[in-house]
């Protein structure tokens, strides 16, 4: 094989394990062929994507196993424990932190055959899906029946429900509908030893610590989510779009804070810094721009729009109309530029962090300044999105044309994470930890926090078979 790997070598897998697994899932659903190993070697961790064009992949799996249901997964995990085979779950492969890279000779557990819509309960406003369904297909099933989940991430067309759960994902309409952890009511999980956990769907419960939350953000290290019951919403009958220009990020943040205090809950709120505004909105140019999209019952939408407009204008907002919102809606899934500039030797990536309102403006300034100071940087820009009454997510996009790709990438991430720490932020809002951000977990949780997560991990997964080298698992 002419593929080079740089994180770990392709492992050997016991032939007895392969034979037993073939017996469970069928011969055609176990592969050790080169084309399959290459295809499951990397998710959308952008440093890895940049190198992939040269035939450099982070790691190759020893095999790819594609079960069709939870019973098959149970059987596979039991054999994986018996033969001490590491297993890396693979959903849509859209994660940006390397969470699905098959490190340390792991076998891939491909979950994309488990992708059915199961049912919709229109009385309770919940729907059940298998976890391997792609977001756009999930939305299509719901939209066809007059509903939406309301989780619309940029990766909608390539990420899965299971992946959203694994990373505590957020969509662009989260200010109204919440993150995925707000939407999941129940789930079915295959535990690392093959046992089954069924968390029934109810709105709230009081039965000790939330087991559901072990797997919301578990990143495939604690179990395999096979099904989930999620809350849904009737498709909105009305939508109102408006935008404003403000003199600074600080003023814009304060206006959004006041709007949320006023009980408004627009689905979309985004504050674009000058650089991002210039990229998105030619007619506005180099000014801080805020867009709002309210949706739902037309009467509520009209009322909410009035509240937003009044507070924005009272605080120096210059109205820019609907057009910027329409432009954003049209461009919001367009990631086409990244591959184009990575072909020219650049590395690009995004970093999303969370903070309280009191720290948000300082966090933005610090991150932009620190990341721009790294040798090789050519662009650092940001926007705030995913708002809460208490604070927001800051989302930074960066690109560099460095002499040393890895040094630039690592230094930029370190600068960003240190700025986050200085300003009391959390190192991730919704992309998760995966492989790459694991190095900053101690900064986030402290020694005792990381150790607590490790104990939980190895209490559930005694042989350390699930998603080795991710979240807090360094392997043993």
């Amino acid at each position: 094989m002419n593929i080079k790997t740089y994180l770990s070598q392709k492992g050997a897998v016991p032939s007895e394990f392969i034979e037993k697994v073939k017996h469970i899932v069928g011969e055609e659903n176990v592969s050790e062929r080169e084309c399959d190993l290459i295809s499951y070697s990397l998710d959308y961790w952008l440093y890895g994507v940049a190198l992939s064009q040269y035939g450099n992949l982070p790691s190759l799996p020893c095999a790819v196993i594609s079960p069709k249901n939870r019973e098959e997964i149970q059987g596979i995990l039991r054999y994986a424990n018996e033969y001490k085979v590491h297993i890396t779950p693979f959903g849509g492969g859209s994660g940006v932190l390397g969470g699905a890279i098959p490190l340390d000779g792991s076998a891939i557990l491909n979950l994309q055959r488990i992708n059915r819509f199961i049912c919709l309960d229109e009385t309770s406003l919940v729907a059940e899906f298998e976890a391997g369904i792609i977001g756009a297909n999930l939305e299509r099933e719901l939209n066809h029946r007059g509903y939406s989940l309301g989780n619309i991430p940029q990766s909608l067309h390539c990420s899965t429900l299971g992946g959203w759960i694994a990373t505590r994902a957020a969509g662009q309409f989260s200010t109204k509908y919440g993150k995925i952890e707000d939407m999941v009511l129940g789930m079915e999980v295959v535990l690392p030893d093959g046992d089954l956990l069924d968390i029934k769907p109810v709105p709230r419960r009081s039965v000790g610590p939330s087991l559901k939350d072990l797997f919301l953000g578990g990143e495939g290290t604690l179990g395999i989510v096979t099904k989930a019951v999620v809350s849904v919403h009737p498709l909105p009958k009305g939508m109102a779009k408006q935008s404003f220009v403000f003199p600074s990020i600080e003023v814009a943040l304060d206006v959004v804070r006041r709007i949320l205090r006023g009980d408004a809950k627009p689905a979309v709120v985004r504050i674009f810094d000058e650089a991002e505004s210039e990229r998105y909105f030619e007619e506005i140019g180099n000014k801080v721009t805020v867009i709002f999209a309210s949706e739902g019952e037309p009467d509520f939408v009209a009322l909410e729009s009035n509240v937003i407009r009044r507070i924005a204008e009272e605080n120096g907002g210059e109205p820019m109309g609907e057009n910027p919102v329409n432009i954003w809606i049209e461009k919001r899934f367009d990631i086409g530029l990244g591959p184009v500039i990575m072909q020219q030797g650049a590395v690009v990536d995004t970093i999303e962090v969370a903070s309280l309102f009191k720290d948000a403006a300082n966090l933005y300034e610090d991150m932009i300044t620190s990341m721009n100071a790294v040798d090789g940087a050519v662009m650092v820009s940001g926007h705030f999105s995913h708002f809460y009454p208490e604070g927001a997510c800051l989302y930074i996009t960066f690109a560099g044309f460095p002499k040393d790709l890895f040094r630039y990438y690592e230094d930029t991430w370190t600068a960003a994470m240190q700025a986050t720490s200085r300003n009391n932020g959390s190192i991730s809002h919704h992309h998760g930890i995966g492989y790459w951000r694991k190095q900053f977990m101690q900064q986030e949780l402290g020694v005792s926090g990381v150790e607590l997560l490790r104990r939980i991990k190895f209490a559930l997964d005694r042989n350390g078979i699930l998603n080795r080298g991710k979240l807090v698992d360094d392997g043993r």
């Binding site: 994507v49 066809h144 184009v340």
Partner: protein, 358 residues
């Protein structure tokens, strides 16, 4: 497989995209296999080009697992890019290396002997005029469709010259099998068949035939100065012009959009207008029109991986069945045959059933 730097850039962009079209890919949805998603196919083509890939047989297997339906082109974030062009070159390489899937090889051999992918056939030709109706290879054995077209032509009092059968084939099976040279010969022969009949306009029942003759022939230097219309467009114009009158029926119908008709020819309105004229309430499946899913027909001639295709067919049948419509329709003889488990009819048959013969 790349002709120039621009093509290399295009395939590399696709190989480094986040797979933003995978949700639309019927082979992926039916199998759950990451390897046959568009972005991974692009990565494998790039790796083959740069000699990073060693498993040639595995590579060719992947090339023949694509449905070639064009869903990825429709849902691509890049303009003027069609991954199928590169898959097609992979297939040509497989053909040259003599590494075709068994079923595909057999069809190519049949074509060499009989000039069509199905074997010995009678020549069909009847009628007069410079407006032609080309009976595609897939329609040749579909007596219900041919009778329906006969009746519509007769009632509509149209002068139409029907032709097909024997060795008259657009050559699509050779194209999809990667036999570029054979396809070029077939294209030249087909051009001759049409020109010798002095046809000004040709109606065709098979979307793939139209795609070949209007788009792909040009790529091998064969150009036809003839207008092509699909049967749905022809039938719709007959209804609009009042050339045929139809009874209205109080029932529900689901139309399966053939992938090439929707994705390459852009025809989605005409069949729905026909159904409305016939009085049907249209029940759309979850995936329809520009979001339709391929039937798994493998270009009408089992050119490709039959195992994957059968999974695609099963998925599509289930999607269509969910509508619980009274009637299931399509407008491609291949789709009709492949989806026969749900009693699929060609839309021309429905028009014929409802036609009023005054």
């Amino acid at each position: 497989m790349m002709e120039d730097k621009k093509e290399l850039e295009q395939i590399t962009n696709c190989a480094m995209c986040a797979n933003m079209c995978k949700y639309s890919c019927p082979t992926y949805l039916a199998t759950g296999k990451e390897t046959i998603t568009p972005q991974k196919i692009a990565r494998l083509i790039l790796y083959k080009e740069k000699a990073f890939l060693e498993d040639q047989q595995g590579f060719f297997d992947v090339m023949f697992q694509s449905a070639m339906c064009g869903a990825c082109k429709i849902h691509c974030i890049y303009d003027n890019y069609d991954l199928r062009k590169f898959i097609q070159r992979g297939r040509s390489k497989a053909f040259k290396e003599g590494m075709l899937p068994d079923e595909t090889r057999k069809r190519v051999e049949t074509f060499a002997s009989f000039g069509n992918p199905h074997g010995e056939r009678q020549l069909l030709q009847k009628g007069t005029g410079d407006l032609g109706y080309f009976v595609s290879c897939s329609a040749y054995n579909d007596q219900d469709l041919l009778k329906a077209m006969d009746r519509i032509i007769s009632v509509g009092k149209k002068q139409i010259y029907q032709f097909g059968g024997a060795d008259i084939c657009c050559g699509a099976p050779l194209y999809y099998a990667g036999d570029t040279e054979g396809f070029e010969k077939a294209a030249r022969k087909m051009k001759g068949e049409i020109e010798n009949r002095k046809l000004r306009k040709v109606i065709a029942d098979c979307p793939t035939c139209i795609k070949m003759m209007t788009e792909v022939y040009h790529e091998v230097g064969v150009d036809l100065d003839v207008e092509f219309v699909h049967t749905t467009e022809f039938l719709n114009s007959l209804l609009e012009e009042g050339k045929i009158k139809v009874k209205r029926r109080n029932a529900t119908a689901t139309f399966h959009d053939p992938c090439i008709l929707a994705n390459d020819l852009g025809v989605t309105a005409a069949p729905r207008e026909i159904l409305s004229a016939l009085g049907f309430e249209i029940k759309e499946p979850v995936y329809s029109q520009e979001d339709t899913h391929c039937c798994g027909g493998l270009c009408g001639a089992r050119i490709g991986d039959c195992g994957v295709a059968d999974k695609v067919s099963t998925m599509r049948i289930n999607e269509l069945k969910e509508t619980a419509a009274d009637v299931y329709l399509s407008a491609c003889p291949t789709c009709k045959a492949v989806l026969s488990d749900i009693d699929m009819k060609d839309i021309a048959e429905l028009v014929s059933e409802q036609i009023i013969d005054e």
